[in-house]
Symmetry: C2
Subunit: 119 residues, 2 copies
DNA sequence: TTCATATTTCGATAATTATAAAACTTTTGT
DNA sequence: ACAAAAGTTTTATAATTATCGAAATATGAA
């Protein structure tokens, strides 16, 4: 994965509204949801929504298709996987154990606790 | 992990120079490196470097300690792990397999709690 | 104390990003 | 053809972010 793509992906998700949009799309699954429905659920004016959707699409994190009058957006799970993969491999010092998601056995264990118990 | 912390972390890494800095620190390991050495290796003017380091620290992705005249920065691997964990669980639709890094067996699905179903 | 080194803070400027009203495009129903 | 519905584009504005020279701060050495 190219570094510029990583940065585009991170930047796309590093924003309140867009993270909400993306999580909604993730929850919606591969089917996706219409732009209007997203706007309705998150209470966004259409130009604002459109702006954020185009940012997410530019980053390659979502795809869209027209269906009648609506435009259906869906999360690009593969792209998201690549992003997580990049972070895991490039930002965790090869210490897979430290950054591996729970439920994933990277030989050496990292007992997942709710972090920051320390005062 | 709080959503605001996630956004801060993503935003911190979503920038060329900062991603370079962070990767350098990851490579350097828990020992860390002095600010000056980072600037030297990446060819950055000190105020620019200082600005980015403070962004990374604000996001909780790096920590620093003074050692004589130098200030040593190190990556916060635990914070990075939390970030990756959040992305894996909240942005991959629970499809651990889809986002799990290669070489990592998704076999045992972790009992996901705190999934925040709504919104 | 004075000097040199390592870094941060201040300040000014340029660049980018987020927001949303108004206008436009596409599609469908009548 | 006309109107309504669903989205996008245009445009303007406000807010945030990135960059660095100059000045300030802390530490160790002479």
């Amino acid at each position: 994965m190219k570094k510029s793509a990583v940065i585009a992906g991170l930047a796309a998700l590093a924003q309140d509204t867009r993270l909400d949009i993306f999580r909604l799309l993730v929850e919606a699954g591969p089917e996706g949801i219409a732009a209007g429905e997203i706007g309705r659920r998150l209470g966004l004016p259409s130009p604002t929504l459109s702006f954020h959707l185009s940012q997410l699409r530019f980053a390659g994190l979502v795809a869209s298709r027209r269906q009648s009058r609506s435009i259906i957006y869906r999360a690009n799970f593969a792209a998201m996987a690549e992003l997580v993969d990049y972070l895991t491999h490039n930002c965790c010092g090869g210490r897979a154990g430290l950054c591996a998601p729970a439920g994933c056995a990277p030989a050496a264990e990292a007992p997942r606790r709710r972090a920051t118990k320390s005062r």
